[in-house]
């Protein structure tokens, strides 16, 4: 029927609603309903991929993908790709939705957003915005080996930002919370308080001093250290990048690559924003230890990379109907036993970097860059001057080895991660970290 070695189909159907509040006024309400299928076919060493929208014909899409795979295999034949065999996934321990957002009226969502959004408008704040979003999806997977699975997932969340300005100086503060949860996210987090915190951060930064760059010891707060775990270690652990030859972690399984204080885990089963019960090629998910006490233990795998390198699949994800690629889920540095006060005492002079405006990594060279939201100078073990526009860059392996203390205050932060033009929900987290030397950049 289909003259290919393997094929699979993924059907996704669902709705998303978002409401945007800008300076106290509803700017937009958007409701989207989409359905589509993503189909892959493998012949020899070549993949064919098609996607179809709306009222599609799956058989037709499978035929189109198969034709592409066969044709690619004829025109540029190469080593056969093997897919790791898996059992059909079992969806257990799924997050329970207490308040289904689809059961709550648009009016109520609008008035809730207006109510908590108001709290960001403090004196000195020139502009505020708040966004509420929800999505509710059903995912159905089947493949040519008989694997099949199905799950529903609800995600909700909100983000608030406030801009403070004074004499041509502009600073922004942001807070956001997203999760695999229903409307009860507003019972879990106090959105009004978070709106005030966003405003306070922005106001505080107006009085911050620009950073002076250089090499120095630093303490990273849990949010920024979580970004480090994700950007610097998580991406370099993705086995597709390892196979491409663009990861500094290639051929290093079993080696000590970090301070023995460092343990890094990726766990899709946690009920955080990056949760999924099985990945986008049907593999059951489980907790994966990337680094244990400084030793590199595992990469993150798809069925293809697991078969090639040896490993466990379960980290292959796609945005919507895109082609699945190796991705992270909920990535964190595990707790150590140091206290923040002990770190301050140990470091003497340096910088405390707080929060994140995002980051980026070149996994091939093992170089990363990310921006903190703010920082403090540390002088004689005391936090002194508040600093803005401060960034951190360096070599992944150097920083991992320079970790001298790991805190006991792990915190997770939700966000979205981009790779290959696709965005997927993730969380990352860490306790406080003390690093003996890092390159800090400033204005």
């Amino acid at each position: 029927m289909h003259s290919v070695d393997f094929f699979d189909t993924r059907i996704i159907e669902g709705t998303t609603t978002s409401i945007v509040l800008d300076n106290g006024k509803i700017e937009q309400i958007s409701v989207n309903f989409t359905k589509g299928a993503a189909v892959r076919a493998l012949k020899g060493g070549s993949w064919g991929f098609t996607s179809a929208d709306g009222d599609f014909d799956v058989e037709k899409a499978i035929r189109a993908a198969s034709e592409l795979a066969v044709s690619m295999n004829d025109k540029s034949p190469k080593e056969k790709v093997k897919m790791q065999d898996i059992a059909s996934p079992v969806v257990s321990n799924a997050p329970k939705v207490k308040k289904n957002p689809l059961d709550i009226s648009l009016e109520e969502k609008v008035s809730n957003l207006k109510e908590f959004g108001k709290h960001a408008k403090k004196e000195g704040i020139s502009s505020t915005s708040a966004v509420y979003s929800e999505s509710s999806y059903k995912v159905m997977y089947t493949d040519s080996t008989g694997v099949e699975g199905e799950y529903d997932v609800v995600r909700t969340g909100f983000a608030i930002s406030a801009v403070a300005s004074r004499e041509g100086l502009y600073q922004a503060g942001r807070e956001s919370r997203f999760g695999v949860t229903g409307y009860e996210i507003f019972d879990k987090y106090n959105a009004s308080e978070l709106a005030e915190e966003a405003a306070n951060s922005a106001l505080q930064l107006l009085d911050a001093k620009p950073a002076k760059g250089g090499n120095m010891p630093v303490i990273l707060d849990p949010e920024l250290a979580g970004v480090f775990a994700h950007e610097a270690v998580g991406h370099a652990s993705e086995a597709d990048l390892v196979l491409e030859g663009s990861s500094v972690l290639e051929n290093r399984i079993g080696e000590s690559i970090a301070s023995p204080l460092v343990t890094i885990i990726d766990d899709p089963t946690m009920h955080e924003y990056g949760y999924f019960p099985f990945d986008d090629e049907g593999s059951q998910t489980k907790k994966t230890t990337l680094i244990e006490n400084g030793v590199l233990k595992s990469y993150l795998h798809s069925r293809e990379t697991a078969a090639k390198l040896g490993g466990t699949p379960g980290h292959c994800r796609a945005q919507g109907h895109s082609r699945p690629i190796v991705r992270m889920s909920n990535t964190y540095i595990d707790n150590g036993n140091s206290k923040f006060e002990e770190m301050l005492e140990e470091i003497g002079n340096g910088m405390y970097l707080i929060g994140s405006r995002g980051g980026q990594v070149n996994t091939g060279e093992g170089v990363f860059q990310f921006n903190a939201e703010k920082g403090y100078l540390i002088e004689d073990g005391q936090l002194t001057t508040l600093i803005r526009d401060v960034s951190l860059s360096g070599k992944i392996l150097e920083i991992l080895n320079n970790v001298k203390m790991v805190g006991n205050d792990l915190k997770m932060n939700s966000g979205r991660c981009g790779k290959g033009g696709q965005l997927v929900p993730v969380t990352d987290g860490s306790p406080h970290l003390m690093i003996s030397e890092a390159m800090v950049g400033g204005a």
Binding site: D53, D55, M72, G441, G442
Partner: protein, 436 residues
């Protein structure tokens, strides 16, 4: 497509919209992926989607779908979303009465009709050219060609129907002998005129040249910024400040600064929706306003923000044709079109006694888009000595502020590149802070 759009428009009016707009896109894209020197596979995507804006008392509701049997429901959702909101006195109306210009160079039948064989051929040209340089692996890359149609109808009589094509190539390479270094190159065009072999060759040679690095001390110096790095910085730091929406909401450094000198007097910047063969060229913007050319900076003086219909109505001016959508899934918002950086050119490296040359940066999206402050990691950076690129630099952060930079531009190269929608030469800036 026209019948579906007409049906959606009628449905929105029937459910109570005072004004309505329908945006439909249909696109077909073929791409070929590279993984470690080999073609990994091919993708064919066909996408059709519809977005409906319904306006009731100035409040905008929006709904979208890719299921054509769901259009009536989507129209109903858009209207009920609009009715949930308070009236917006700043809303004037959807566009009407437009005279459309003619544009050229955005549709190439060779791209539309390109067979898979030719797609594979172009992908191989990139791989082969890169591998001609010894010690290089192409880690990843892609070729793609696309054809798209869009249709915009609104209840004020706007009707825009346009088709176009696009083609692009990209490779990322790494060295596999000596010091590890990476580099990438890409090109994008509306016409079938890309030199794919040059993409592979450029990336490979740059990675090779970037080996045997030295460290440098933190200092202030002249920095020449390649079009890739400069467009990355300008898109993340400057363009947000001229977005009228940000200006009206108090999120721009350029509020109330029209006609002020904000840049070196030899610098001009244009936003041009009509540019021949431009990536963002079309007869109209994404809500049906006729495209035009807007002078943003004229000889150093700041002249204009960029507007869509809503923000223009609020300021009592005309839209500059800058309504932009990422897909049918979202309402239009202000976005630049072809963004052209104009500065007198010279042989810029030869003209520089000492300084630093930066090819690309990582982390530009972490910049402060309001204040314009940034601090990014420079890649494939070199020292400049006596008018020549000298040594590759191991690790380098460059930091500064885009508004200081605009004043400190003192030279530009002859190497104008189309980096997506931004068209710029290499730019030289004095007195930038570099940390090695």
């Amino acid at each position: 497509m026209y019948d579906l759009a007409e049906k959606a428009l009628q449905a929105a009016i029937k459910y109570g919209a005072k004004e309505a707009e329908v945006y439909i896109v249909k696109s077909q894209k073929t791409s070929v992926n590279i993984q470690k020197d080999m073609i990994e596979g091919a993708k064919e995507n066909i996408t059709t989607g519809i977005g409906i804006r319904a306006i009731v008392d100035g409040a905008v509701g929006f709904s979208s779908t890719n299921i054509m049997s769901y259009i009536d429901e989507a129209a109903k959702n858009a209207v009920s979303s609009a009715k949930t909101q308070d009236a917006d006195p700043d809303w004037k109306k959807l566009p009407s009465n437009q005279k459309y210009p003619t544009v050229s160079g955005i549709l190439d039948r060779d791209i539309h009709n390109m067979e898979l064989d030719e797609c594979i051929g172009h992908t191989m040209e990139m791989i082969d050219a890169a591998r001609a340089t010894p010690g290089i692996i192409v880690t990843s890359g892609s070729f793609s060609r696309s054809h798209g149609e869009r249709l915009i109808l609104n209840s004020n009589g706007i009707e825009v129907s346009e088709e176009g094509t696009g083609i692009s190539g990209f490779v990322d390479v790494i060295t596999n002998e000596g010091e590890t270094s990476t580099a990438y190159d890409f090109a994008i065009s509306r016409k079938n005129d890309i030199d794919f072999a040059a993409i592979g060759k450029n990336a490979a040679e740059l990675a090779k040249k970037s080996q045997n690095t030295i460290s440098i001390e933190p200092h202030k110096t002249e920095v020449i910024i390649h079009p890739f790095a400069f467009s990355d910085l300008i898109e993340n730091t400057f363009i947000p400040s001229i977005d009228a929406d940000n200006v009206q909401k108090g999120r721009s450094n350029l509020i109330g600064r029209k006609d002020e000198i904000i840049a070196d007097e030899k610098l001009s910047i244009y936003d041009d929706g009509l540019l021949e063969g431009g990536i963002d060229t079309g007869i109209a913007d994404d809500e049906g306003v006729a495209s035009r050319k807007t002078t943003v900076i004229e000889n150093g003086a700041f002249r204009s923000y960029l507007y869509d219909t809503y923000t223009a109505g609020k300021d009592g001016v005309e839209s500059t044709g800058n309504a932009s959508r990422n897909s049918y899934l979202s309402t239009p918002s202000v976005g630049s079109r072809n963004f052209i950086i104009d500065f007198p050119s010279c042989d810029i490296v030869a003209d520089t006694d000492s300084g630093v040359y930066v090819n690309t940066v990582i982390g530009a999206h972490t910049a402060n888009s309001i204040s314009g402050d940034f601090s990014v990691e420079a890649r494939n950076a070199f020292t400049i000595k006596d008018g020549k690129l000298d040594k590759p630099i191991k690790s380098l952060m460059i930091s500064g502020n885009i508004f200081d930079m605009l004043k400190n531009i003192n030279g530009a190269g002859t190497d104008v590149r189309k980096v997506g929608g931004t068209i710029t030469p290499s730019i030289r800036v004095s007195d930038m802070s570099v940390v090695g």
